[in-house]
Amino acid sequence: MRQPDGSSSVLTTKVDAMLGWVRKNSLWPLPFGTACCAIEFMSVVSAHYDLARFGAEVVRFSPRQSDLMIVAGTITDKMAPVVKKIYGQMAEPKYVISMGACACTGGFYRAYHVVQGVDELVPVDVYVPGCPPTPEALMHGVLKLQDMIQRGETHYDRLKREHRASTA
């Protein structure tokens, strides 16, 4: 909204919408890459596909500096406690993308040492299918997550609403 003297403009919005807009455009991913999908993740952040176009290129290997965990690869029972620990170390708000068939469901490893989907361990916001997913598919997943953040539909938002309702 332009001021009568033409000096500056004012935009009216809700705080949540503003925060959502800010958050969705500056996702800092933590690649929890364990297997083949991690190699495709490297392709996504490399020059050819370049995830930077969607504001999510600041890859951080410390969970304390990131707000998006991309689980890229098979999670085994041996790795399971580590996933939980790393997720616990991330500061809120935090989101999870499960990349690839193994992270989503265990994939074609219905086996004695493989977690049958990372949602056994941590809440997942977006599931990206594929073995491994193409870079386009992962980008689609990131865009979907951005939509969900904007609309307040992520797991984090749901928990926050429930918390508010229970304390009100």
Binding site: D77, P81, Y109
Partner: protein, 566 residues
């Protein structure tokens, strides 16, 4: 890849201790198979290593096999090779279930270290005298031995405690010099420089590592058990996910192994396409290895330079197979389908396109002062030592041993290609970098020659015990319909027997030990992952180095977790 039967000319019975009553046979894969009682195992292994006529300097693999119906339920199988005489041996030791103990071969071949731990983990066979016999792939809370035939493939055990695997020495108070405190540091498994899922615990004196131990198995996704529950052909997608940086080569290696067991051969066109795509995969693999290694050393730019040619190769693979990374393009008997019409032009484009990026990195890095200071003299290993640990591939060649399967035991017509096997002598991280750089150029040379001789014709065998007949014939001929039906329902049946077949993977000798009981499913598949043997040396190489060096060394070894843990 198959070995000529030169073994039969050797007077093995005279050369081996107690040879008169050993069971010695010549197997169809060219190995001399020696079945030996466990009490005489070490004597036989020592003779195989030390006798000048035998001189087996490489212990390629140790694995277990479970035969529940036999009186001696388990069999421990050793694969040995002499790189000098170019002959190979398979030593089998049967043991009973109630008394599954075998003397450890670690004293004879250091390479046995982790392989024996794996056999213990998977089958519960104990190796007497092993320095550190404990589970290696499964976790602390795991019960039972998963590769036994009576173990349910889906039976999971849950691990809740993240603080597992703390070596005893790590908790012990520092011994001699109590003036300075030692510190125990945990690297991984979730660490930017551990390339996936490796974990190392190191003890530091100041910044110098005084002791180290590795924990692997964080990506153990049960490849071998899964392959026992699928048909022979269905295993190919699983092989893709072993070394996922060059998945084409795993599939080709497996298909060749199964073809040898079946006695069929892929048509010439399929062979040449396999060579082209395998060598391009080797280039891709080295790109990832070097790119990641350089990132860890702070040279990020090279990572982008190396990933660009990869994208182009991916494009080609996608056009051929439909998948970028996990291609599943090889089939037992040939290829899934023919290459696209513009295949030759695309490969020609790649041949002109890739060298530019290699040259760019070469100019940036090879004579770079910082890079050389950080890699020269770091992680040095002598050729002899490397062989004793079971090293193969570029890492071994960087230590001066010119062993390349494509030269020593040629397969897929590699004997007809003109290429060099690059060898360096210093055995340090820098040498491993140089060898990989040169190997990429040599691979491109092979691709160029292969392209010249790419014949026309079918890409899959017409043996309908192995490959489906063309769909048009299935609809028009009764016989083809029956073949189709049988192959879909029963799968390929490989004659009963066993064989060890090996190719030159991106990391070294990639071996498949196949055991068939004549049915439509593999009885046992053991992969000999090249980086498994390399990585077991890693904790020993670290001693005396700084923490930062450990990262440089690890990157140069190219440890791929999918292949390491399977």
């Amino acid at each position: 890849m198959t070995v000529s039967s030169a073994n039969t000319e050797l007077p093995l019975r005279d050369l081996l201790p107690g040879g008169a009553d050993l069971k010695i046979e010549e197997a169809s894969d060219g190995h001399a198979v020696i079945t030996v009682d466990r009490t005489r195992l070490l004597g036989v292994l020592e003779a195989l290593r030390d006798r000048p006529e035998l001189k087996c300097n490489l212990l390629a693999d140790v694995c277990g096999v479970d035969y529940p119906d036999r009186e001696d339920r388990f069999e421990v199988v050793y694969h040995l090779a002499s790189l000098e005489h170019l002959h190979r041996f398979r030593v089998k030791v049967p043991v009973a279930e109630g008394d599954a103990v075998v003397p450890s071969a670690y004293g004879v071949y250091k390479a046995a270290d982790w392989f024996e731990r794996e056999a213990y983990d998977m089958f519960g066979i104990r190796f007497e005298g092993h320095p550190n016999l404990k589970r290696i792939l499964t976790h602390d809370a795991f019960q039972g031995h998963p590769l036994r035939k009576d173990y349910d493939p889906g039976q999971r055990w849950f691990l809740t405690d993240a603080e597992t695997m703390v070596p005893e020495w790590a908790t012990a108070t520092s011994e001699d010099d109590d003036q300075f405190e030692t510190q125990v540091l945990n690297l991984g498994p979730s660490h930017p420089a551990t390339h996936g899922t490796l974990r190392t615990v190191v003890r530091l004196d100041g910044e110098v590592i005084t002791r180290a131990e590795c924990e692997i198995g964080y990506l153990h996704r049960c490849f071998e058990k899964m392959s026992e529950t699928h048909g022979w052909q269905q295993v190919i997608p699983y092989t893709d996910r072993l070394n996922y940086c060059s998945s084409m080569m795993n599939g080709v290696g497996y298909a060749l192994a199964a073809e040898h067991m079946l006695g069929v051969e892929a048509p010439p066109r399929a062979q040449v396409v396999r060579v082209i795509l395998s060598e391009l995969s080797r280039v891709m693999d080295h790109c990832v290895c070097l790119g990641a290694n350089l990132v860890d050393l702070g040279a990020l730019t090279n990572f982008w330079y190396f990933f660009q040619p990869r994208e182009e190769i991916y494009g080609l693979l996608e056009a051929c197979a439909g998948g970028r990374l996990t291609v599943s393009y090889a089939r037992i008997g040939g290829l899934a389908h023919d290459v696209p019409a513009d295949f030759v032009e695309r490969v020609r484009f790649l041949l002109g396109y890739i060298p530019k990026f290699i040259d760019d990195v070469d100019k940036l890095v090879t004579r770079n002062r910082i890079f050389r200071d950080r890699t020269e003299g770091v992680g040095v290993i002598s050729g002899e030592e490397a062989l004793a640990w079971g090293w193969t591939g570029p890492c071994l060649r960087a230590s001066g041993v010119p062993y390349d399967v494509r030269r020593a035991w040629p397969y897929m017509g590699y004997q007809d290609y003109d290429f060099e096997v690059p060898v360096a002598t210093t055995g340090d991280t820098y040498a491993r970098y140089l060898v990989r750089m040169e190997e990429m150029r040599q691979s491109l040379r092979i691709v160029e020659q292969a392209l010249e001789r790419l014949p026309d014709g079918p890409v899959i065998t017409d043996n309908h015990h192995v490959a489906l007949p063309p769909k048009s014939k299935v609809y028009s001929e009764m016989e083809s319909l029956i073949w189709h039906f049988k192959l879909i329902y029963e799968g390929i049946k490989i004659p009963a027997g066993d064989g060890y077949f090996f190719t030159e993977g991106a990391n070294g000798e990639l071996g498949y030990y196949l055991v068939s009981d004549g049915g439509g499913k593999p009885y046992r598949i053991k992969v000999r992952p090249p980086c498994f043997a390399v990585f077991q040396t890693y904790p020993h190489m670290l001693v005396g180095h700084m923490v930062a060096d450990s990262i440089a060394i690890m990157g140069s070894l190219n440890i791929i977790a999918g292949e390491l843990d399977r």
